[in-house]
Subunit: 265 residues, 2 copies
């Protein structure tokens, strides 16, 4: 059967895949994997192949973006093909074009979902999902876009939280860190003066969501700048208005200062 199944690998290692994802891989004629859209800190190709009994071809950004995933499409025209992707397959927007192209060629597509960084970070924080506004990615400092600052500002005006992913270039092993992202936002604050990211502003840093040892710390930007979050991947949340249960969660789970209670409703 010619079919293309997108399978999520989850967040941390080869055990993030679901039982269904494992079965789909075992029964596939062809298996491909990409490991550049997110960092899976402890993923081992060798252990993955032992688990699945399948050799999976590792595809680069070039294979996917410049060659439009031709190798995957050609394989899927001949038999059942799985494409293994970090996280939940379409949260990084990169692979939608591949799915559309497959459908246009008459190849059936399916998704076997995995844990996504978005819901993992929201879940870890204890903040309420329906109080998050638009999310944003904070780029490396060579990109001086004002978008992240503006998104956080707009969400705060609406009382909403902002989830900030930090940019990564896995090929170069470059991962934006929480203190670098905060330094950029402080720089933007000096210019735009909206009170969005001052040294007194409370933010939440999250490192290694999806691992057994995530680090979560809610504090003023001033304190977070020198906090040691350890290895990547790292993310940030800028809280909007806090419900009292959200404040309790940040105090109990993220070591937030107890004074946060006073700001909650």
């Amino acid at each position: 059967m010619n079919e293309l199944v997108f399978v999520g690998l989850g967040l941390h290692d080869e055990k993030g895949i679901s039982l269904q994802g494992l079965e789909e891989t075992k029964t596939a004629d062809h298996a491909f994997v990409e490991l550049y859209t997110s960092l899976l800190p402890n993923f081992s190709m060798e252990r993955f192949e032992t688990l699945t009994g399948k050799k999976a071809q590792v595809l680069t950004r070039q294979d996917l973006e410049e060659q439009n995933g031709a190798r995957i499409l050609d394989a899927a025209e001949k038999g059942k093909t799985v494409f293994l992707v970090p996280g939940d397959p379409f949260i990084a927007t990169t692979h939608v074009a591949l799915r559309i192209e497959a459908e246009k060629r008459g190849i059936k597509t399916r998704i076997v979902h995995g844990a996504s960084i978005i819901s993992a970070i929201i879940g870890l924080s204890g903040l309420h999902n329906y109080k998050f506004g638009k999310a944003v990615t904070i780029p490396f400092p060579e990109n001086t876009s004002e978008t992240p600052y503006n998104v956080i500002t707009q969400n705060k005006k609406l009382g909403l939280h902002t989830l900030c992913l930090l940019d990564i270039k896995t090929e170069e092993k470059r991962f934006l860190r929480i203190n670098q992202a905060l330094a950029q936002l402080l720089g933007m604050e000096q210019k735009k003066k909206q009170g969005t990211a001052t040294i007194q502003t409370i933010a939440i840093g999250i490192a290694r969501a999806g691992s057994n040892t995530p680090v979560l710390k809610a504090d003023t930007i001033e304190n977070l700048l020198t906090y040691d979050f350890g290895d990547p991947p790292q993310s940030l949340i800028f809280p909007g208005e806090l419900h009292f249960m959200e404040a309790e969660a940040l105090i109990a789970l993220a070591g937030a200062p107890a004074s946060l209670r006073g700001a909650a409703k």
Copy 2:
């Protein structure tokens, strides 16, 4: 070791759990499960127990909400305890208080994430994650809250998409359907007249996200009202401004009218 591990079950059946989640369950001294915060349409307790070799105690809303999860906390004080939860454990906000209480009692807590309805629906739609604003749940008609209408209106003004979960009462086997939700929003439109939900408005209905046969249909509300989405669970997206790749995705993957191209940027 006394420890409480929250494990996500994913979206559809007993194979939505990750390999790590399966291992944590196998090695636990005590296992509890709740199946009321989301519908797992094809989950079988019997098959789950065969997979894990563990008897898991099924907890009701009353056990968790009125008894504050006392059975789970008591077990976790004695040994390793897993609490299995549909989706990704903290996306329904229900269990945060339990986690806080465990930490206050000195019980270490961890999360093994699962696929969440939020990222699954976003992924299925092909829409860009960072273009979604605040999400909202549309309640049953006996609740006449204007919140869903107002959230969609506000997001549209900002050019953002709105993810709408539809209310469920699993204990009563009641699941709000797409056509009921749309009828409510049309009623609100008559009252509020913001142009948010007219019969010509394009929306996207999604049924059974996470199954092998999800149904996705993008069309005018007029047409969606009579479209047969089949069994629950069902959800809705109200798109904001569409990028041209998003319009292509809705046409290719959700059968949207080709005229959508004209509205995209």
